[in-house]
């Protein structure tokens, strides 16, 4: 090329320098984005790993298989097999004697007490009581039962109690460790899947506690919340979006709905306390009230989601319907609402998932009670899953830690399934045009 050839200003060294700078800038932005994603994923991963790491052991529990003798003279001295008598009988003694005969060389009072602490005192006695009560023919016989060990033994075997720590700094004595090791070696003490955790209700003893009561309470409250907030929320949104005149009043309502979405959940709890409990006199701790409070809390979320779903429907579809002589109401209900259905559903499910994880408002209306029965109606006292987690996290024994994590795992699994359902429904219902 001759020196006279004109070079474009985009081919000079300065231009190439500028281009390189621009590319470097764009690359920096890309790396920053990747870094942000990595940090977010790392935090999420950390959360999951730590939860599963501490929680998974709660799904297993150590059980002792032991042969007990149901002496008629101890349990039913009159031989009447009277239900009341069978219920009141001293089953603790049955377990104790079974343990003493398993370890006959334990004779002193302290040793005996210490030996009995290996099994779950109330768990074992209640289990035998229940068996005899249901089948009085067992009296006078020798039966083999499998009972949960005490939470301390369970924790020891799960490695949560340090065997090498000085004896007076740990909850399990050297002698107890010796017995436990013997029982494990002989195969009498084994680890099994902890069905009780999923089927039992709350208990003072961690080895007996389960989440069933809380799950049922949560499900009931959520059902009430759904029935209250979805019809009301969707109805209000459709009316506000499609039929309400646009004036100062509706503007005011819209602003307030948006404000309501930002109100802290505990305020809804106070509202429930003041209105539902104190004014209407509804029962405390009931899933009905909990559900109504959660429903109120979810209402603005559903209204906002529904309105934006309606707004996202292409106006050309509505124009098409109107141009055929459909009335405005027909255009809305034949075309707009069906096309917005997936968005409405997704919004509702996400609102419900939010409500499921909500703790604060339930504390205010008394759903924080210690409830040992699975509620059978929405008027009975109940607990809820997040409240159960809150209660357990506050308890002292080492065994509660893993149960708290396990309950959180269950809650997260339920939440993730709800979100998965939302995604599935969205992809199924979404119609493109």
């Amino acid at each position: 090329m001759s020196a006279k050839t004109k070079t474009s200003i985009h081919q000079t060294d300065q231009a190439l320098g500028r281009l390189a700078k621009r590319k470097a800038k764009e690359n920096r932005f890309r790396y920053a984005g990747i870094a942000a994603v990595v940090i977010a994923m790392a935090m999420l991963g950390w959360l999951v790993v730590s939860l599963v790491g501490t929680g998974y052991t709660a799904f297993f529990q150590h059980y002792l298989t032991i042969t007990v003798t149901l002496n008629e003279s101890d349990l039913d001295p009159h031989g009447a097999r009277n239900a009341d008598q069978l219920r009141k009988a001293n089953y603790r003694k049955v377990i104790q004697q079974a343990l003493y005969s398993r370890f006959p060389d334990v004779t002193d009072r302290r040793g005996k007490r210490s030996l009995f602490q290996v099994v779950s005192a109330s768990g074992a006695t209640n289990q035998v009581r229940q068996m005899v009560y249901q089948d009085p023919d067992l009296v006078g016989r020798e039966i083999t039962i499998t009972v949960p060990t005490s939470d301390d033994v369970d924790q020891l075997l799960k490695g949560h109690i340090d065997r090498n720590a000085p004896e007076d700094l740990r909850k399990v004595s050297n002698q107890q460790i010796e017995w436990v090791d013997q029982l494990v070696a002989s195969g009498e003490l084994t680890s099994n899947f902890n069905w009780r955790f999923l089927t039992a209700t709350d208990s003072r003893d961690p080895e007996l506690a389960g989440i069933a009561g809380a799950v049922v309470g949560s499900a009931m409250a959520l059902g009430v919340a759904f029935l209250l907030s979805v019809p009301v929320g969707v109805g209000a949104a459709v009316y506000l979006e499609e039929f309400a005149p646009k004036n100062r009043l509706t503007d005011f309502i819209e602003i307030n709905i948006n404000n309501l979405a930002a109100v802290p959940s505990i305020v809804f709890g106070l509202l429930g306390l003041a209105v539902f409990l104190n004014f209407f006199g509804l029962p405390r701790s009931a899933p009905l009230v909990g559900g109504m409070v959660l429903g109120l809390m979810t209402l603005p979320t559903i209204i906002i989601a529904t309105r934006s779903a309606l707004r996202a429907v292409s106006p050309s579809i509505v124009d098409g319907a109107l141009s055929l002589g459909a009335s405005h109401t027909q255009a809305v209900f034949h075309h707009k609402v069906p096309l917005a259905a997936s968005g409405i559903l997704t919004g509702s499910i996400i609102g419900m998932a939010q409500a499921l994880g909500e703790t604060a408002p339930l504390l205010m209306i008394g759903m924080v009670a210690f409830v040992t029965e699975i509620p059978t109606s929405i008027m009975e006292p109940a607990s809820a899953l997040p409240v159960q987690i809150f209660l357990w996290s506050d308890s002292a024994e080492r065994a509660w830690a893993e149960r708290t994590s396990a309950a959180i795992i269950v809650l997260l699994v339920v939440l993730l399934s709800m979100n998965a359902i939302a995604i599935f429904l969205r992809s199924r219902l979404e119609r493109r045009w």
Partner: protein, 285 residues
């Protein structure tokens, strides 16, 4: 020139009126024989108080195709939407003046826009089939108006409408498939079939070919040519060639005014107004 003071109905004319009365009698003899479908007198449209259409006076014949042409923003689409009161759906839009359809004021108190729109169908710029099956698209109108009490009637209406829209042979084996799965040209013909299915008297078309390729456009124009035998058609178009091909009457709009309205042939060969001439020769617009 008493027409400047009042129109033939005795309504006072707007002070913004351009002073032009396009009189059907002044045009060709063909126009004299055609019945008038719409009599528009001093039609004005306001969007949020801003006047988009300046007192249009125009008589639309009962038969044939009437084309509305003009540069973007001239008010031709706004004017088209006056005929089926689609402007009612736009918030803050207001229509003034008088539009008589077969002598009846369509903006009168006793006229329900829902029934008016059943008589005056519309086809939009972008094909907008419902995200439903081809059958349901066509059947929607008859269903909401209760035109087909029996399933059999509905099948007949759907078949006849699709045939008339020249789509039957292409879709008869897949009526259950979504209408949105058709090609652009087919979608536009589906939308025409949907409009025909409610037996309208008039079909409004708002740039119906602007999203179509030349082959689909040719098919659509052929269809319009056939439909004009049964329906009064008003078409807004950006393409002057299209207006020349499909229409019998043409109205040229400019900046909200109806500048010139005449037989299509007259407009394209011998425009009276300088603005019309500039536009059709490509000097403006």
């Amino acid at each position: 020139m008493s027409a400047l003071k009042t129109n033939h109905l005795g309504h006072p004319r707007s002070m913004f009126d351009t002073g032009k009365v396009i009189d059907m009698k002044a045009t060709t003899s063909e126009a004299n024989t055609a019945r008038v479908k719409f009599k528009c007198r001093n039609v004005e449209v306001f969007y949020s108080g801003k006047r988009a259409l300046h007192g249009v006076n125009m008589d639309v014949p009962d038969s044939g195709v009437t084309a509305l042409i003009g540069p973007s923003g001239c008010g031709k689409s706004t004017f088209l939407r006056v005929f089926n009161r689609m402007n009612d759906t736009i918030p803050n839009a207001r229509v003034a003046g008088q539009i008589l359809m077969d002598g009846q004021d369509i903006y009168g108190r006793d006229v329900d826009p829902v029934l008016l729109r059943a008589r005056v169908g519309m086809v939009f710029q972008k094909p907008n089939p419902f995200p439903k099956s081809i059958f349901d698209n066509v059947a929607y109108g008859p269903r909401i108006h209760g035109l087909a009490p029996r399933k059999n009637d509905l099948d007949n209406i759907v078949e006849k409408s699709l045939m008339r829209a020249g789509l039957w042979n292409e879709v008869k084996d897949r009526l259950k498939e979504p209408g949105t799965g058709l090609s652009g040209g087919q979608q536009q013909r589906l939308v025409i079939a949907r409009a025909i299915a409610v037996s309208p008297e008039v079909i409004l078309m708002d740039e119906p070919a602007s999203a179509l390729d030349p082959i689909a456009t040719a098919k659509l124009e052929e269809l319009i040519d056939e439909l004009k035998e049964k329906y009064c058609i008003l078409i807004v178009t950006h393409s002057m060639a299209q207006a020349a091909r499909v229409s019998q009457k043409t109205a040229f709009f400019h900046l909200g005014d109806l500048v010139e309205y005449d037989d299509t042939q007259a407009i394209f060969t011998n425009p009276k107004d300088q603005r019309t001439q500039d536009y059709i020769t490509g000097r403006t617009g």
